[in-house]
Symmetry: C2
Subunit: 192 residues, 2 copies
Amino acid sequence: MATTKRADAVRNRERILAAAREAFTESGEHAQMEEIARRACVGVGTLYRHFDTKEALVGELLAVKLSEFAERVRRTYEQQTDPWDAFAGALREQVDVMAADAAHQKMPFAATPAVVERAQPAIDELREAWLAVIDRAKEAGAVRPDLEVDDIRTVMCGLGSMMAADAGGSLTYDWRRQLEFFLDGARAGLPA
Amino acid sequence: MATTKRADAVRNRERILAAAREAFTESGEHAQMEEIARRACVGVGTLYRHFDTKEALVGELLAVKLSEFAERVRRTYEQQTDPWDAFAGALREQVDVMAADAAHQKMPFAATPAVVERAQPAIDELREAWLAVIDRAKEAGAVRPDLEVDDIRTVMCGLGSMMAADAGGSLTYDWRRQLEFFLDGARAGLPA
DNA sequence: CCCTAAGCGGAAGATTGGTTCCGGTTGTGT
DNA sequence: ACACAACCGGAACCAATCTTCCGCTTAGGG
C-alpha cells in the first residue's frame, strides 16, 4: 500500500511537533534539538528523520503560528463592526499573543530564506487578513490613508524585539506603551 | 616609575580598540575575537591580556558609543532653539547613526549585566541629555505631557531591531516610516 | 650594553549545539 | 507466525568560538 505511514511514526511526528512548540515558546530560537527530542520522549535520530534540519522544524511551526494569527484577525474583522476598534483590537490581540511566545518575538531574526519559503503561504494568508481590516478602516476614515499592511509587520517586529530584549536582559521596555504610541500615530492628522 | 606601561602595550591597546570598533560596527555581536585580533595585527593572547573577556570589550565600546550619543544630543539641544525641532532632530539623528552601526542595533540583546554595569555612567549621561530635550519640549507644549525618557530608549530598541533584522534577513522593514509614526504619536492629542 | 620582567603570538583546550550513523527494534502485509 | 522494510535511540562526530597556556621576544632602567 502506498501512502500509509507506520502508526508509531505518525504518533512520533505529532509528539515532536507538540514538544517543539512548547520548547520554542519557552526558549525561543535557543531551544535545542536534544531538549525537544527529550520532551517528545524520542531520540534525536528520530527527530531528524522527521525534520531534516532545525530550520525545517522552525519553518513548520512558524507557518502554523502565522495561520493562527490570520484566523484571529479574520475573526476580529467579523465580530468587531467598528472599523477602528477592529483594527486596534486585532493589533492589540496579536501583540498580546506574541508576548506569551518567545519563539514569535525573535521571529524576524530566525527568518532565513529557507524558513520564509516554507511559511510563505501562511505569510500571505496573514497579509490578506490584515488587508481587509486596514482597507475597511481607511474607507471609514479611521486610520490615515497612507497606512500599509507592511507597517503592521514592521511594528510587530519592533515590539517583538522589545519583549525579547526585556525577557533576556537587564533592561526593561514598556512595549505596551509603545504600541499605543503607534496606534496614536496611525490615526494622526485625522479629524477627531 | 609606577604606573608606566610599556609603549608597545599602550599602542596595542589602542589598535585593539580601533579594530574592535570596526569589527563590531560591521558584524555586530557576531564579530569574533580572532577577527578583531587579526585586524589589530595582534595575537588573540594579546587581546585577552588587555580585555579579560569579550563582554569587557563590548562594555568598553558601548560606553564610548553612548557617550558620543549624549554629546550629539546635547549639541542639538543647544543649536536647535525650537523645542520640537530639537526633539525630533535629535531622535532622527540618533537613529541615523545607529543605522550605520550593527553593533548598536542589537545592543539591547548584548546588554548582559556585566556590560550594562560597565556602561552605566554613559547610560546615565545619555539619559540626562535627553531629559533636557524632553523637558523643554513638554514645557513648550510640543510633545504630549506623559512622554518619558524611557520611551526614547524603548523606541530605539525597536528601531534597532528592525534594522538588524533587515540587514541579516530575507524581509525588509521600513524603520524610517516607523520612526515618523512614533513622532506623530509623541505629539498626538495636542492642539495643532 | 645587559638583564629581566612585561608583553607577545598563536596553537591547543574547552564548550556548545547541530547533524550523522548504525546496530537493534517493531509495525504490518502475507 | 514470519519476514523484512521502516523506524528508533542515542552515542559519536563535527564545526564554530571563546579562552587559556606557555615558550619566545623586546622595551627600557641601571
